[in-house]
Amino acid sequence: MSATMKLKQGSFLWYLYLDKLYCLLSVRNVKALLEYFHLLDVHHNNTLNDVLFYHFLHHVTSWKRTQIMTVFNMLDWNAMGEIGFDQFYMLVCILLAQQNHLEEQFIFRHSRPVFELLDLEGELRIGAENFHMYNFLFNIKKQDLRELYHDFDITGDRRLNYKEFKLFTIFTMDKYQERQKAEKDKDKGKKDLLKKKRLHHVNVSLKQFLGINVSESRL
């Protein structure tokens, strides 16, 4: 259930992208997405029912039926049996965040809406079971979940309120940025090493060349 989701290559969503800082779509992308939504809105209600929603996600993602219906139930926060464009837009942003490995950034930037999505019962608290259920959406690893409840459950009720959740997102974001920095340094180190090797090689060749010339002139 927690396998990384992949968007179908060449599908319409595959061509969209999130702004890397704010994890939102540009106005142009939203306009295109709205047009796409209207194409799928066959009954002209400005909504997608569960059947259309299922076939859409089944076509563009690698999710299974249970995962798709879990997402539908999560997004259908009014219990109307249909989802509107707002929820559709939210879903697309989540999909793109996963596709582009921006989950931590996305949760950090949109902690309030994510919290409200996970808070199924509307109790302003999230239990561990909520996280488990939606693990495949945000790719939160089991180890991170354990840390989450161990380090951030300040009130000790084994559930997270919004402030505790926000602290968790800040912490995750810091870790993510450190990881990025470490990767950049590693890449930089490799490039420097490669440069040094090349320079050394050039020097050696030059010396050999000059050495040969000098010996020829002596002769």
């Binding site: 540009s26 295109a32 047009e35 799928l40 076939h55 076509h59 563009v60």
Partner: protein, 216 residues
């Protein structure tokens, strides 16, 4: 000398706009070209003073005159909420505006050429044939630019065709599978099933019509 040429050009342009047929001395081979030249010069749009051409290009969001905008408003089928104002990213906005200004300055240039060349329409000169050919070419250019502006205005507020094509083909695949679910779930005779079926057929027709237009 240049002043007299300019004066003659303006007079000739004025005569052409009134639809004067006083200078019908062309050879039979050039008759059609003459008519074409006079027809385009007589269009009221083209007698717009140069200053107003420049003003139109300065208007916000487009370099197109109000007439083209009205044409666009009549033509646009669906109302769009905001308008597809930027085709490219923000950094390309300036280059797009540059293009708009270039179009308007190009049109201005063509108008000037047309008016200066129009002065030779009625003259009995040796290079009459060449002049008439170049004047008809310039009027062709003018007529090419004017409809293109409305076309580009419309294109700005619509999604690009390849993107529409991709979206529609994908939607068609999804909806065809959904139709099977509808039939198995609620039956063929349910009104929702029929509505979906009609929608799919309409979408297919639209697509084939567009493909047919593209091919031809």
């Amino acid at each position: 000398m240049q002043d007299s040429l300019r004066l003659r050009a303006e007079q000739a342009a004025g005569q052409a706009s009134l639809g004067s047929h006083g200078s019908d001395k062309s050879s039979p081979d050039n008759d059609i070209r003459n008519l074409w030249t006079r027809a385009t010069l007589s269009q009221p749009k083209l007698n717009v003073p140069r200053s107003s051409v420049g003003e139109d290009s300065d208007m916000e969001g487009s370099g197109i005159g109000s007439k083209s905008r009205r044409w666009y408003n009549l033509k646009a089928g669906r109302d769009s909420d905001g308008g597809w104002e930027e085709w490219d990213d923000g950094e390309d906005k300036d280059s797009f505006r540059q293009e708009d200004l270039d179009e308007s300055s190009l049109l201005e240039l063509e108008l000037r050429r047309a008016s200066s060349l129009g002065s030779r329409l009625g003259e009995d000169v040796d290079s009459k044939t060449d002049t008439e050919m170049s004047s008809s070419e310039s009027s062709l250019n003018i007529s090419k630019h004017t409809p293109h502006r409305a076309y580009w205005m419309e294109q700005q507020n619509r999604l690009p065709l390849p993107l529409m094509e991709l979206m529609e083909s994908e939607a068609l695949e999804i909806l065809t599978k959904a139709l099977r679910s509808y039939r198995s779930g609620i039956g063929r005779d349910h009104f929702l099933t029929k509505q979906l079926q009609r929608y799919i057929e309409g979408l297919k027709r639209r697509r084939s019509k567009r493909l047919h237009l593209l091919v031809h």
